[in-house]
């Protein structure tokens, strides 16, 4: 019988009914022209020919069987550090114009295969994000340009250089304006270089542009502190964090660093009794909102009013100027009280790009005396330097024909500028158009010259994400294609005969001298810095700049019936730079669990009133059509759409996926904002669009899967919320004797109180273990291959639910239900507690999948490698370069699952044996654990009583998933604790 997949209960019942009424099961085989009864026992002429054909080809196949000749080709001259089979790690820096992360690049036989977090970085501390993890796949993206292009035709660098040189000089002589439009640049050396470039070509202006801008924060600080900076925020020092539309755990500024800080402040391990409390006011259910203690759904246009009220409440108590404003739509009594009680240890942030709002936030933080404690203006964050006004002016000037040349580096405004149409019209009027894009993106397609930049893993560079913290980027592979680094191009066009690495080294030497930084021998220092990846220098203690009182104002909430739309960046693909990355496209959104698309999230009430259901298609402002997803927690009067989709020139995986929501940005007070535009929605009757969600089940069916308690209750009783564990421990009896381990027993512990659901681990696991991408259709068929998934559950009321994130992978049960049912013993238990899976033994009965209560086993329904139907990274020689050579690529018909990174276990065991020493705790780190920005995952030897995992397992909050089944998993969880009152 045909298999039926369903999305919701209603549909499921519907489908079942229709099937029962209309369809009888079809016969398995049919021979044309015969009834079923006649077929039995008969074979036709065709069958005979089939059999003949099969046997002839089988005989031919067997007799022609020959072993392939395999070659072993050594290098002519093997560099000392390159040993085939041994991985090298290089410290480097990830910066894509938006996100910063200090990383280690794992290379095997000189090709990068995995990104790890750099534990030496004082801010990211070994954490990464899903996008950082997936960035290694971009290196092997077939959409990357392989040559420079001149007017759409492949050319060489000599021609390009000659052409650019002539044009640059001609325009300089004529005194015509050229604009160098770049993303935010945090590289001190590149900045110096651009400075030199613009002084050589004085007609070149430099404009920085961010698609999702934060220029309002800089402006507000300029008004209040005479310093146009984004200050450094210290979430680890804040006992109360109040966020307004700022997804600081997901996308806002430095999410990896902020997650490290935030989670370190909320750990309750080892008898710690305090944790920070967070409040979140937001217009859609963000990752931060899903982790917060108190969440308030608000309309974007209400934000100013609420902040003003909060300011007033605080000002009234501390005795500052108050303003007369209408009452707040939400009750602020509790948050005010908390903030006032924690003066100097609280933090209020807003992600809205509105100067009025940012000024109110500044004023509140000032009244709470947070400057100098949780906010530091002296070590500003250098990200998001985009200047919206300069960008608006550029668009205007281009249209009025004042701009003669445009050099676009690392930006794609033709796609992601809210006013892209006007920008594109203007761009057509520019005579000299050049893009440094490494793919033929929307902007590059409009340019006459395309000078493809290296991937960041092929480049030299440096970065100063926060004042005083320097970070090095170094190449880990020779350029794969005929590309050239942006900085090298500039140097050549400046007539300089040096490459950027030399330039950078000289620049460091110069800067270090002029700033009197003590480093000793420079060469030694330089090599050390390249090895460490980061260098932090001591800054002189300076007092925080003085706060200059300014009059606060706000925009009145919009009083109309329309929906206010909130645009947001997805945790997976961000602002659209990674839309062609199949790993990220297939990563389930931590909240909606949707893959491969964007969609309009509407509130449950709105959906009921307007008869909208999942997958219904609506038209927005007549601009585009988009499917609907009914999202619990979506505030009434709002709807949300992710940006970054709807690319027209992304590459084979990302082109045409979803709809471009950037045109819906809200231009308010001169600045483009993500939220606040009023949209009109029209339902297109009868039209649906399938969405590939990985989890449509939202509750736990009454089973105690994700356990939770509140801080006061936890303090009273450490077993709070986890009483079931005690009960199960007592009542679980077994006829089998418990497995006894000698020496090693691997175990994992996941602290649900730390996990934010950011999905970094999902991609880290995919990258480490060669997990296949299977495409939207197969995801919809429930065949997603991820070894690690993050389950999301809702609790409480639908309009503003509590959200749980729960990473689930193979639990490595000592009483494993899967092991007993395998007819060929392809899955069995190791003496180290691993539930092992031998792919070459598996015959694909899938009994184990059926018998696994955790549903963590994955079946290869198709051959996902070398198969044009799955044209992602495993279908080309280039894409396959990312595969981890230590892990088998699984074939069709076998079951696979989490192995607790057995290749890493074996590697480190061998290392210990070779060094003739005992294995140390922390030697082995699984891929998910290594780069977890929240340090939620611990892995180690459960027999070693000194190990971190052992200590975590002995916490009172420890429980096993579905432990009433007595599967005795080696993986355990720690109860989540929310810092709410009762």
């Amino acid at each position: 019988m045909e298999k039926i997949y369903w999305q919701s209960l209603e549909k499921h019942t519907e489908q079942q009914a229709s099937v029962l009424e209309n369809k009888k099961p079809l016969p398995e085989f049919s021979i044309e022209g015969l009834d079923e009864s006649e077929i039995k026992g008969k074979s036709t002429r065709r069958d005979f020919l089939k059999m003949l054909g099969f046997s002839v080809s089988a005989v031919a196949l067997v007799s022609s069987c020959q072993m392939p000749v395999r070659k072993a080709i050594p290098l002519l001259n093997q560099p000392e550090e390159l040993i085939p089979g041994i991985a090298n790690y290089f410290a480097s820096t990830f910066f894509d114009g938006t996100d910063y992360c200090s990383i280690l690049v794992k290379t095997r036989e000189n090709r990068p295969i995995k990104i790890e977090g750099n534990e030496m970085s004082p801010i990211t501390k070994g954490g990464t994000s899903a996008r950082v993890q997936a960035s290694v796949l971009n290196l092997y993206d077939d959409a990357r340009l392989k040559h420079p292009f001149l007017k759409g035709i492949e050319t060489n660098w000599e021609t390009i250089d000659k052409d650019v040189f002539t044009q640059l000089n001609a325009l300089r002589d004529e005194g015509k304006r050229i604009v160098l439009l770049t993303s935010t640049i945090i590289s001190p050396s590149t900045k110096t270089l651009i400075g030199e470039f613009t002084s050589l070509y004085p007609n070149v202006e430099w404009v920085m542009y961010d698609p999702v801008s934060m220029s309002a924060i800089r402006k507000a600080n300029e008004l209040h502190f005479a310093k146009a900076v984004i200050p450094n925020f210290r979430f680890d020092k804040a006992k109360i964090v109040v966020g307004f539309n700022a997804d600081y755990l997901g996308n806002w500024l430095l999410p990896v660093a902020f997650t490290k800080q935030y989670s370190s402040n909320r750990k309750l391990n080892g008898g710690k009794k305090t944790m920070s409390r967070s409040y979140q006011f937001e217009g859609y259910l963000s990752l931060t909102g899903s982790n917060t203690d108190y969440r308030y759904g608000i309309k974007p246009s209400d934000e100013g009013l609420i902040l003003m009220n909060l300011y007033n409440e605080i000002a009234r108590v501390v005795g500052a100027t108050t303003y007369s404003v209408p009452a707040s739509p939400v009750d602020l009594g509790k948050v005010t009280l908390d903030l006032l009680e924690n003066k100097g240890a609280s933090l209020v942030v807003s992600g809205t790009n509105d100067v009025n709002i940012q000024m109110t936030v500044n004023a509140i933080n000032h009244l709470l005396e947070n400057y100098g404690t949780t906010i530091d203006l002296n070590t500003p964050i250098n990200l998001k330097q985009g200047n919206d006004e300069a960008m608006a002016k550029l668009t205007k000037d281009m249209n009025s024909g004042e701009i003669a040349g445009l050099l676009a580096y690392n930006v794609n405004p033709a796609y992601d500028y809210f006013n892209a149409n006007e920008f594109n019209q203007g761009l057509n009027k520019v005579g000299f158009k050049l893009s440094f894009s490494d793919t033929m993106d929307e902007t590059a397609a409009l340019c006459d010259l395309v000078c493809p930049n290296h991937n960041y893993l092929e480049s030299w560079g440096d970065a100063e994400p926060i004042r005083g913290l320097l970070s090095i980027m170094q190449p880990t592979i020779l350029p794969i294609f005929n590309t050239r680094q942006f900085e090298d191009s500039l140097l050549i066009w400046m007539g300089q005969n040096q490459d950027f690495s030399t330039y950078m080294e000289k620049n460091w030497q110069k800067e270090i001298q002029s700033n009197n930084i003590e480093v000793g021998n420079f060469t030694q220092f330089w090599n050390q810095t390249k090895q460490d990846g980061v260098f932090q220098y001591q800054l002189n203690e300076e007092p925080q700049p003085d706060f200059v009182e300014q009059k606060l104002t706000f925009d009145l909430p919009k009083q109309n019936a329309g929906l206010e739309v909130v645009l947001y960046e997805k945790i997976s693909i961000g602002n659209g730079k990674y839309t062609n990355n199949p790993w990220l496209l297939e990563m389930p959104d931590p909240i909606t669990t949707a893959t491969w698309d964007n969609y309009l999230c509407v509130s449950i009430d709105y959906a009921k009133q307007n008869d909208l259901h999942l997958e219904d298609v609506v038209s927005i402002n007549g601009l585009f059509e988009i499917p609907v997803l009914v999202q619990p927690g979506q505030p009434d009067g709002t709807a949300s759409i992710a940006v970054g989709f709807g690319r027209t020139d992304a590459g084979k995986a990302g082109t045409g996926v979803g709809q471009n929501a950037y045109p819906l940005m809200n231009l308010q007070n001169g600045l483009p904002q993500l939220a606040g535009s009023v949209i009109s929605i029209e339902k297109i009757n009868g039209k649906t669009f399938p969405l590939a969600l990985t989890q449509t089940h939202h509750d736990m069916e009454g089973r105690p899967i994700a356990r939770e308690t509140t801080l006061p209750e936890y303090l009273k009783n450490p077993y709070a919320g986890n009483e079931q564990h005690l009960f199960d421990e007592e009542h679980n009896v077994s006829l089998y004797s418990k497995v006894q381990y000698d020496g090693l027993h691997w175990g994992m512990s996941i602290d649900l109180n730390s996990c934010t659901g950011c999905s970094n681990c999902v991609i880290a696991c995919q990258s480490e273990n060669n997990v296949a991408v299977i495409g939207k259709e197969q995801v919809k068929n429930r065949r997603i291959m991820h070894w690690m998934r993050i389950d999301r559950y809702y609790s409480r009321e639908e309009s503003n639910p509590g959200v749980y994130h729960m990473p689930v992978m193979c639990q490595h049960c000592d009483n494993a239900p899967c092991e007993n049912v395998c007819p060929v013993a392809a899955t069995n238990h190791s003496s180290e507690g691993l539930n092992q899976m031998a792919y070459n033994r598996c015959i694909g009965t899938r009994y184990c999948i059926n018998n696994c209560p955790y549903k963590v086993r994955r079946f290869n329904w198709f051959e996902y490698t070398n198969n044009n139907k799955f044209d992602y990274n495993m279908n080309s020689d280039l894409g396959k370069m990312v595969l981890n050579p230590d892990v088998i690529v699984r074939q069709r018909g076998v079951v696979e699952k989490c192995s607790l990174c057995v290749q890493r276990i074996q590697e480190k065991k061998l290392e210990a044996k070779m060094e003739n020493r005992e294995l140390r705790d922390g030697d082995i780190k699984t891929a998910c654990q290594q780069s977890c920005p929240a340090d939620a995952i611990q892995f180690g030897n459960l027999i070693d009583t000194e190990s971190k995992v052992y200590k975590q397992v002995k916490e009172e909050r420890m429980y096993h998933l579905l432990e009433q089944l007595h599967t005795l998993p080696s993986t355990s969880y720690l109860t989540r604790v929310r810092n709410t009152e009762a």
């Binding site: 395999r70 090693l744 230590d886 044996k913 020493r917």
Partner: protein, 401 residues
């Protein structure tokens, strides 16, 4: 030692091989690789290709007692650049050069102190200065006393066995098939033999034998026992590892650090072949190919002999460095082979057989300290040795992941 004891247990092929091998009396001279410093030991690797310490003459003279033969300053100068001294007409140098068939010793870019370190290392017979006995980490692969013809006969046998076995199998299969057909024909048509049980017995035996043969052949599909491809260069392990007694790990130097034993880079060949420009048998033809590779910047495409299936993870360092297994235990007596042939069948049964019997360095390696129960069992005499299997060496995910 190990090679005779263990390998003989698992397969008949090995038994045949090794009975013959006993005549060659394999003498395992242990070079202790430890020294005053790791650097001296590393530097001595340069010398090891042509010299031994007390192991007799290789390409160059035995270095035992070299410190007493010449004044130190002379020795240092000679090691650094012997050709310069010979050209300058130093009497002793010219004499040595002539004694060693006019094979020049390549000049070495070593400082005086580094050479002194090497000399001290030689003086101690490759032992640590303080005389602390250390477990040898390399077991050299010397053979002594075997004449060239005897050695060759051993290698030839392997190649011949391959063909012979195949022929035997095929003829047995055909004989059985014919016997079976005859008895079927007689049973049904001619009926010459009255006792029917004879037919049935013959048919049953034939089916059983043919079934067995088919099974053996089928399981051997994808395996390459006795695989002996022609290599792009007629490189002889017999000359290098056998006659010249170059340590396996001199060329396959990553075998102690990585999963791959590694094919040496061409630059490593040049360590010796800058001076050794012609071979006894092939003259300059084959050695020229090395120079051609360097000149054309084109690496040599060797044919891989020992192939494992893709779904197997095998690590040389684990076996060579940690397990202290001789190379020959899996690869056969390569030092006797002109052209390398795969001796073992590299099947899973073959691996597991060894894992079941092979003792691990349980007491010697501190890694194994954590196995408290096994240590207790050893102490109490429940176990006599700890085999690879005892620590989980026959589990799936030790090799398949």
């Amino acid at each position: 030692m190990i090679i005779n004891g263990i390998a003989a247990k698992y397969s008949l092929k090995f038994k045949v091989l090794l009975t013959l091998g006993i005549f060659f009396l394999v003498l395992l001279t242990s070079f202790s690789a430890s020294s005053q410093t790791a650097e001296d030991e590393k530097n001595f690797q340069l010398c090891k290709a042509c010299h031994t310490i007390g192991g007799g003459k290789l390409v160059g003279p035995d270095l035992k007692g070299v410190n007493d033969r010449h004044p130190e300053s002379w020795t240092i100068k000679f090691i650094q650049n012997s050709q310069e001294m010979i050209q300058a007409g130093d009497e002793m140098a010219v004499k040595l050069f002539k004694e060693n068939n006019n094979i020049p010793m390549p000049s070495h870019n070593l400082t005086d102190d580094q050479v002194r370190g090497i000399l001290a290392y030689i003086k101690n017979d490759g032992q640590i200065a303080g005389g602390v006995a250390q477990v040898a980490d390399t077991t050299s692969t010397e053979i002594t006393g075997a004449t060239a013809s005897e050695v060759e006969a051993g290698a030839k046998l392997l190649a011949e066995k391959k063909g012979e076995e195949r022929r035997n199998m095929q003829s047995t299969f055909i004989i059985m098939l014919v016997l079976m057909l005859i008895s079927i024909i007689d049973l049904v048509i001619t009926k010459l033999v009255k006792a029917r049980w004879i037919h049935i017995v013959i048919i049953l035996v034939a089916v059983a034998v043919m079934g067995e043969l088919t099974f053996v052949e089928a399981t051997a599909l994808g395996r390459q026992q006795y695989y002996q491809p022609d290599q792009p260069i007629a490189f002889s392990h017999k000359i290098h590892a056998g006659q010249n007694r170059i340590d396996c790990k001199y060329c396959h130097f990553t075998a102690t650090e990585s999963m791959h034993a590694g094919i040496p880079p061409v630059a490593l060949c040049m360590n010796c072949h800058t001076s050794v420009k012609s071979g006894k048998k092939t003259g300059t033809v084959e050695i020229e190919k090395i120079y051609a590779a360097i000149d054309n910047n084109k690496p040599i495409e060797w044919i891989k002999v020992g192939n494992l299936a893709d779904h197997v993870y095998f690590n040389h360092a684990q076996h060579v460095k940690v397990g202290k297994i001789d190379c020959q235990q899996c690869h056969g007596e390569v030092q006797k082979m002109d052209q390398v042939i795969q001796v073992g069948d590299f099947s899973m049964g073959w691996c597991i057989d060894c894992h079941r019997n092979q003792a691990v360095q349980f007491a010697e390696n501190k890694f194994y300290d954590q196995y408290t129960k096994l240590h207790k069992d050893l102490k109490e005499g429940v176990l006599t040795t700890v085999t690879v299997k005892d620590i989980g060496g026959d589990e799936c995910q030790k090799c398949h992941y």
